[in-house]
């Protein structure tokens, strides 16, 4: 058997391919091109956004949900929402009726006559922009992330559409955009904030039930709102660090 001759040429091949592979590994570790790009300053500018909603002022007109759908090109069909309003009606015999017809965009009807009602109110819902958000924790590729200003955003050009974040959000704020195949959610109108405008839902609310602001600034409208009211967050037992503070949140609201 001409082992030596075969082995020699094979050994050569193995040696050269090994060196080639080793060289590639080294090059990839060094990453020379990264040094050329200068790092940009973070756009956060030290802000830490939060949201406040005053349930005692919500009239259930649906302007916020309607404005959000128009501003953000949320698909009208099949009826996904970045924010919506729920109507809670607790009857005298203890029944809890919750409804959100088309997210509340077209307003609400009263489900039972006045005499049977014990307690009733509207609760607007939206992304809570959690500080310890479970949705960004579970994204496998880093397409769901927390911006430096504390907003939970989605990189739609990187999202693979696995839907893990949709399952992980305890508040039901996320959905998979049926046309794009990626995840969509409330961005607190980040594109408007950067231009100095208010988020669409905040601007749309006729009664001032919605507000947002910088939690780091103790003089901001939001910080004052939290100080002067007894605020609560949804599902505090899950420790999501929710930054959506409700005034007059009743215990039936989940």
């Amino acid at each position: 058997m001409s082992i030596e001759k075969d082995d020699f040429s094979r050994r050569d091949f193995i040696k050269s391919s090994g060196m080639f592979a080793g060289g590639l590994v080294l090059v990839s570790l060094l990453n020379p091109l990264k040094l050329v790009f200068a790092t940009k300053k973070p756009v956060g500018k030290g802000k830490w956004y939060g949201v406040g909603i005053d349930i005692e002022k919500c009239i259930g007109c649906g302007s916020c949900a309607r404005a959000c759908k128009i501003e953000n090109d949320v698909p009208k069909e099949p009826f996904f929402f970045r924010n919506w309003i729920e109507q809670y009606t607790i009857t005298n015999d203890g029944q809890i009726i919750v409804s959100s017809p088309n997210g509340g965009i077209d307003g609400f009807k009263q489900p039972v006559p006045d005499e049977e009602i014990y307690k009733t109110f509207f609760v607007p819902k939206m992304c809570n922009h959690c500080a310890k958000s479970p949705c960004t924790q579970v994204c496998p590729v880093g397409a769901s992330f927390e911006s430096p200003e504390g907003l939970a955003l989605v990189d739609q050009n990187y999202c693979i559409g696995c839907g893990y974040c949709v399952q992980a959000c305890p508040y039901g704020c996320r959905y998979i955009n049926p046309e794009k195949g990626v995840v969509d959610k409330c961005t607190l109108c980040y594109h408007r904030l950067e231009k100095g405008l208010d988020p669409a839902c905040m601007m749309a609310c006729p009664t001032g039930a919605r507000l947002y602001g910088d939690l780091n600034d103790k003089e901001s409208a939001l910080s004052v709102f939290i100080k002067e009211n007894n605020c609560a967050v949804l599902k505090p037992q899950l420790n999501t660090g929710s930054k959506l503070f409700y005034n007059a949140l009743s215990q039936e609201v989940h």
Partner: protein
């Protein structure tokens, strides 16, 4: 070292090397700029066009209506809540018109009687009892109700 182990180590070295090379070439630029995500994503999200222009922009041309509005109960309501988004109209007022009055149902969205709606915040009417079939603007000026 037995020949099998040598051969296998080589194969795995090649495989891992290939993975590292792929990782170098396929990792997107601006990755990890601010955190475990593409830094450019922030810019891409911010680039989107804003559709609602807000009252100040409307008032730049429609100052007389804006003036009237500040004296009524609708003073804090944005023009675009009733008239729709204004970005197209603000760019090209002649060719892009805003929506005007849309009928009784539109006003009732806010003003219909609902037990859940706080009475101290908004005036509510019973849609059936209050002039059913009539248009609201027959009696009420929406800019100064």
């Amino acid at each position: 070292m037995p020949v099998q182990v040598r051969r296998l180590l080589l194969v795995f070295a090649v495989f891992i090397g290939l993975m590292l090379v792929l990782k170098y070439f396929l990792t997107p630029e601006s990755w990890r700029e601010y955190g475990p995500y593409r830094g450019n994503a922030l810019l891409e999200i911010a680039e989107k066009e804003a559709k609602y222009v807000e009252m100040e922009t409307c008032a730049m041309c429609h100052d007389s209506i804006a003036e009237i509005k500040t004296q009524g109960n609708h003073k804090s309501i944005q023009c675009e809540i009733c008239h729709g988004p204004g970005y197209k109209h603000a760019d090209d007022p002649e060719n892009n018109k805003m929506e005007l009055y849309q009928g009784r149902q539109f006003c009732l969205r806010c003003h219909t009687k609902n037990a859940a709606s706080p009475k101290n915040i908004i005036k509510q009417i019973d849609a059936v009892e209050h002039n059913e079939g009539e248009e609201c603007i027959t009696c009420h000026n929406p800019h100064q109700p």
